[in-house]
């Protein structure tokens, strides 16, 4: 009798064990608690206020201190449509009122690091600062929320967004990782307080900062996700030089760099460290553009602009440049792989993407001749003094244009003066430019191609009302098929028919990291999935 009970108990235990192991994904390992994650960051944050800044240099060291209303799913960050609640409860709410009202329920267990509870009013104050900042307060992404009519908090744990019109761009815009939730009482006292101070509700608390060297965070014991974070803390170490960052990982002074390394550095690390290095790669929601100055002759002539794009061998460039630079994918104005992006067949119908390069360049030469371009003249190409990928792609572009007889001299400037030439002085003929976004949200991301009186980031000085109209129509359409059709029309006009500006190649994100770093998954943006609450060290 006793042995039967023992056998039964053993069988039950074995069954439970098998059941539990079956419930875990294949190869899943139980996360370990403890340890300090050391990572390198190529630049320091200009300020601590995420609402005003646009750089990864803020996100990487500071995002772990803050929560968001919703975020990309940290377990599936490569998806462009998978969003989950952060401080809200349950799944991301569906809209009501014909797609014009979103009601979020806020968790009751969220606390700021100063010990105060986070309420719906804090969320409202945060979004009001982002969407309609008071005079003197900068909000870098307020244009993302043009569809928002109001944000209100009917009670302490409910936030209601009312939209002017239904918009597929709204939920992705809410998940932007720069939307750190701030405390209302702090904002009421001083709207600029967060520029120099930190008080979030994220998985880590601010420990200290050594200017120019490191920002440290420690585990937040009151974090609202129980059992998280796994790490005891993190050290965000600033190192400007790429070689220094590579050597830091090689020498195990740091475990990871979240922005991305060029292929050569990846190869060196893999060669040196073998299985101790894990490499993750992804298409990157960053594209290197070429902005053409429409006010400078001969680039005011659409034939010359078309010739510029027709000269470029994008398909070949993708193959070769991906070996030496962080660019790879050939694409149009939409992030490749997104439902709204052009497929290869559609791309090959656009000037500059034709499969027959000889035909393309012959057409370019013909257009230049027709336009009477002075081929003995050297034109001005403005570029940013950053190797990856700007200077490398710039050198490639100059060679491509040389193939059709156009001579360009590359003028390279550090970031500040580069923008000065691009945005203020406008002394360039053609300039390198980029469009880097966090959340993949094409309906908003393509706003860079609108007329310069509509888009805050279009520096080519063109007005194209046809493109503007297509953009508006697309953003007010709820039908994905119609959106896609309109996007194709906008793309064809922008890149081909009017040749307002053009795309070179989309970036390719390569993250070689120490293999003991677990739980972190690559996303299509170096701004995303940086809360570090799910990261652990397998040491």
């Amino acid at each position: 009798m006793k042995s039967i009970r023992l056998k039964t108990a053993c069988a039950v235990l074995a069954g439970i064990a098998i059941g539990m192991s079956a419930a875990l994904p294949a190869g899943a390992v139980t996360p370990k608690h403890g340890g300090i994650l050391k990572f390198v960051v190529p630049a320091e944050p200009p300020s601590f206020d995420a609402h005003r800044e646009t750089t990864f240099a803020l996100i990487h060291p500071l995002r772990p201190f803050y929560s968001l209303l919703i975020r990309v799913n940290p377990d599936n960050p490569s998806s462009t449509t998978d969003f989950v609640c952060d401080v809200c409860e349950g799944p991301v709410p569906k809209p009501t009122d014909g797609g014009k009202t979103y009601t979020f329920k806020i968790r009751k267990d969220v606390k700021f690091h100063n010990g105060d509870h986070l309420f719906a009013q804090d969320v409202v104050a945060t979004y009001q600062k982002i969407i309609s900042p008071p005079a003197g307060v900068v909000s870098a992404r307020k244009a993302y929320y043009v569809m928002v009519d109001s944000v209100t908090a009917p009670d302490h744990f409910t936030v209601v967004f009312k939209l002017k019109y239904p918009s597929g761009a709204f939920i992705p815009a809410l998940a932007v990782p720069f939307n750190f939730l701030y405390q209302k009482s702090q904002l009421d006292q001083d709207m600029h307080w967060y520029e120099k101070n930190i008080n979030g509700s994220g998985a880590f608390r601010f420990k200290d900062r050594e200017a120019g060297a490191v920002i440290r965070g420690v585990r937040n014991p009151d974090y609202f996700v129980k059992g998280r974070p796994y790490l005891d803390g993190f050290d965000a170490i600033f190192a400007k030089k790429e070689s220094l960052r590579v050597q830091a990982i090689r020498g195990d002074r740091a475990a990871i760099e979240f922005r991305g390394f060029p292929p050569k550095s990846r190869d060196d690390l893999v060669k040196a460290l073998g299985k101790d290095i894990t490499v993750e790669t992804s298409d990157w929601n960053c594209v290197l553009l070429t902005t053409i100055n429409h006010k400078r002759k001969p680039f005011d002539d659409v034939r010359v602009r078309r010739a510029l794009t027709l000269a470029i061998d994008r398909w070949g460039g993708s193959q070769y440049l991906s070996k030496i630079a962080i660019v790879k994918t050939v694409g149009g104005i939409v992030f490749p792989g997104h439902a709204l992006a052009a497929n290869k067949k559609e791309l090959q119908e656009i000037a500059g993407y034709w499969p027959d390069l000889k035909k393309s360049r012959a057409e370019a030469r013909k257009l230049l001749k027709e336009a009477g371009v002075d081929l003995s003249k050297t034109y001005y190409f403005n570029n940013r003094a950053v190797d990856q990928p700007y200077k490398i792609v710039g050198t490639w572009l100059i060679d491509q244009w040389k193939q059709v007889g156009l001579k360009f001299e590359q003028h390279v400037f550090p970031t500040g003066p580069f923008y000065d030439v691009l945005r203020q002085k406008k002394e360039y003929d053609v300039s390198a430019d980029f469009n880097c976004q966090s959340i993949v949200n094409p309906l908003v991301d393509v706003s860079k191609f609108l007329s310069d009186d509509r888009s805050g980031s279009q520096y080519g000085q063109w007005q194209d009302r046809e493109v503007d109209a297509l953009f508006d129509k697309m953003n007010q359409s709820a039908d994905p098929k119609e959106q896609r059709k309109l996007m194709r029309e906008m793309e064809k006009l922008t890149l081909d028919t009017h040749a307002n500006g053009f795309i070179t190649l989309w970036w390719n994100r390569i993250i070689p990291h120490r293999s003991y770093v677990k739980g972190w998954k690559i996303s299509p943006s170096h701004y995303l999935n940086q809360s570090l609450d799910n990261v652990w060290l397998d040491k």
Binding site: P262, S265, L321, W396, K402, E409, Q410, H411, V412, F413
Partner: protein, 304 residues
């Protein structure tokens, strides 16, 4: 007819005699100099070789230095590419050859400009003396307080990159250095009786400075000029290495070094080695040559 022929023959012989007369002492002097300064002579040959390479770069380079060839990226030295290729598939030998042109163009232009302006300003300062000299020398002190590279960096930061601006950036810090050296020599010349005589004859200041004083400061001027040549090449390479000099796709040694030194040091070391070697040899040759010129022209050293 005959007379004419005779005249031609005579004048031809005279011309030969006239040409031959200065030639003998020149070659004699050159031979003596080679015996006295063998290192200087060797470095002089190096300098001549560099100038030859720079002048005939289009004929000597086996490939176009700027055309990319993505089929041949970062290839090791081979028969097809004697010094290998860089990360863009460009032939390194061709880029080193064309790089000599960039280095010498920037080096010679900035060294000549810097030392010539320094000569004129140094002589002018010594000639006028008094409060002008005092004020001018304090301004020179300010410029001299900055190390060469820092001063050049500051100038590039103001004017921007590109060959023209690099020349300005290198020229400006050279001026006070040459002016200071030349001034000390010019102070002595200023007291010479022939300067007093020129003044007494009512010559203008410009004429006295440029025609009577400056030519007599040629020894320190030439010494500074040859010294500056090596420094200018090194400065140009340093600025380009820092990304502040000439820009891609122009072939320049510092730029080539910058492109290859960090990322490709392990897997394709030739990308950095050959331009590095070119910079080293060029600077070495110009410095040795400059030293020899100084030893030859400086009367104190010559006496020894």
């Amino acid at each position: 007819m005959n007379t004419d022929s005779m005249t031609h023959a005579t004048s031809g012989a005279d011309a030969e005699l006239e040409l031959a007369a200065p030639r003998a002492p020149f070659f004699k002097a050159l031979g003596k100099w080679v015996r006295l300064q063998p290192l200087g002579a060797a470095s002089g040959l190096g300098v001549i070789f560099m100038i030859f390479v720079a002048v005939f770069a289009p004929h000597l380079a086996p490939h176009d230095p700027v055309t990319t060839n993505y089929e041949s990226m970062a290839q090791a030295p081979s028969f097809a590419y004697w010094l290998g290729t860089d990360q863009f598939g460009r032939d390194l030998l061709s880029r080193v050859i064309w790089g000599a042109r960039t280095a010498l163009f920037i080096g010679f232009t900035s060294a000549i400009l810097g030392s010539t302006l320094g000569l004129v300003l140094g002589v002018t300062s010594a000639y006028f003396a008094g409060w002008f000299d005092l004020l001018f020398q304090r301004v020179m002190d300010v410029f001299l307080a900055f190390p060469l590279i820092i001063m050049a960096l500051a100038v590039v930061a103001i004017f921007g990159t590109g060959p023209g601006n690099v020349i300005i950036a290198i020229t400006i810090p050279f001026i006070p250095r040459c002016a200071r050296v030349v001034r000390s020599n010019a102070l002595t010349i200023r007291e010479m009786p022939y300067i007093d005589a020129a003044r007494a004859l009512g010559y203008s200041h410009t004429r006295i400075i440029l025609r009577h004083m400056a030519p007599n400061c040629m020894a320190p001027y030439l010494i500074m000029l040859t010294t500056f040549l090596g420094q200018a090449i090194l400065l140009e390479a340093s600025l380009s290495y820092l990304g502040l000099g000439v820009q891609e796709p122009i072939a320049a040694w510092g730029l080539m070094l910058q492109g290859g030194a960090e990322e490709y040091a392990e897997s394709a070391p030739w990308i950095a080695i050959f331009p590095g070697l070119a910079i080293t040899l060029a600077v070495f040759a110009f410095n040795l040559f400059g030293d020899s010129v100084r030893d030859t022209l400086d009367p104190k050293l010559r006496a020894r």
